[in-house]
Symmetry: C2
Subunit: 247 residues, 2 copies
């Protein structure tokens, strides 16, 4: 029996850190959803960078760069972090450098763990099946919003925890996991509708960037599982899965 | 309209800090419940101290000292942090120095805020009525468990947030407050039964210290509202309330 835990904020990571675990980074609106979309559409690899200066330096070297802060694409960048930015014609075969407000810092923070995977509603079942097969402890690291708790990442954490504990291979004695599962049980009845309660949904609306809401709250639109290997995110695609839904 | 927010861990306090707010510190199992019990039973004042060396120094000066770590009373202390320790015959008229694993650090951390109040299920309605009358922003600071999220403090935060937003005087756009209210709505149907899910409930059970569970999960057994004034916790008792239940 392996354990699943949930960390609600990068600022809490030291208190949940488990280097024997696979860390699943979740930034539903929008970084980890967009990373899944990019691999689904054929990107070759993504280089996550936490800092903007580093992103700018990669741009000067000629790389494609996706970079946003507070939802807004930066002037030197080729992309923001809407999943719709990463269309096949723009990303197929490309290497992209990626820096976002919350998500890429969380990826960098977890780099010492046994594994780092990118999680979102769009790859939920594929990810859950792969994790169960890996037979490793799992820690969901919610990117949150500037180190504050957020609803969308927590609901996703609850969905994944529910799938893993439901498989019979995982248990938990972690209160944040218990609470996340409770939240998922409420939200799953109408996921997109439930997200009206999320503060970041309203930030995106004010910026005119909320066209992504249905996409980001669609479960299982892809089988890709982006994984951190050395400094790069690369694709693991579960081609051989029976493709049955876990959720 | 004032705002209510919930901070799930002392480690997240910098990201929620609002010095215009009254900070309600919550450590349901057991520090803030015990502090309410002590004032209900006639303690004159409580000196919260974060560090053990400081607690030991007060003891040498001849003060009564309550001190525990990981649930266990320390050898030099007169009391642990069970609410049952603070019986009228032991505490009436006394000044007590108090240091616990999580709760007293949270109190110290919030000392710069407009006000600091001690919250627990036992004083829920009195506290909610007083806060509404104060007409101030409210930040619930959950003491958690060694900086991790815990269930019992979050459920309490949800109960208080539900009372304040239900009054029409408060609103929130804080995701952790939304989630805490969801949790309270589930737990309120059988609060004591729900707490079987809490990790700390099982830590206390292993230590044979879980006799406090019914007391700590009883709503509105007292009208006292312990408040931090200078370095001391003193009692505000809402003698003039109509004493109607908010919850």
């Amino acid at each position: 029996m392996k354990k699943i835990e949930v960390c609600y904020s990068p600022a809490l990571y030291p208190y949940y850190r488990n280097d024997e675990a696979i860390v699943v980074v979740s930034d539903i609106l929008r970084a980890t959803t967009a990373i899944c979309a990019a691999f689904e559409n054929g990107v070759k690899r993504i280089i996550p960078v936490a800092g903007l200066e580093e992103a700018r330096a990669w741009k000067k070297k000629g790389f494609l760069v996706a970079a946003e802060r507070d939802g807004i694409i930066l002037d030197f960048a080729d992309f923001g972090n809407s999943p719709f930015n990463f269309s096949p014609e723009r990303v197929k075969g490309a290497t992209i450098v990626y820096s976002t407000t919350n998500g890429t810092q969380a990826i960098e923070m977890a780099a010492q763990a046994r594994g780092v995977a990118i999680g979102a509603f769009v790859n939920l079942s594929a990810l859950a099946e792969w994790l169960i097969a890996e037979d490793s402890d799992v820690l969901v690291l919610c990117a949150g919003w500037k180190n504050r708790y957020n609803l969308e990442d927590s609901v996703f954490a609850g969905a994944l925890a529910s799938a893993l504990t439901g498989s019979g291979h995982y248990n938990t004695s972690c209160d944040s996991t218990v609470a996340a599962i409770e939240l998922w049980e409420i939200a799953r009845k109408d996921l997109l509708g439930y997200m009206e309660k999320a503060a970041h949904r309203h930030r995106l609306k004010k910026l005119g960037l909320d066209d992504v809401m249905p996409y980001c709250n669609t479960i299982d639109s892809t089988r890709v599982i982006p994984l951190l290997k050395d400094r790069f995110l690369v694709e693991h695609r579960d081609y051989f899965s029976k493709n049955h839904k876990i959720i």
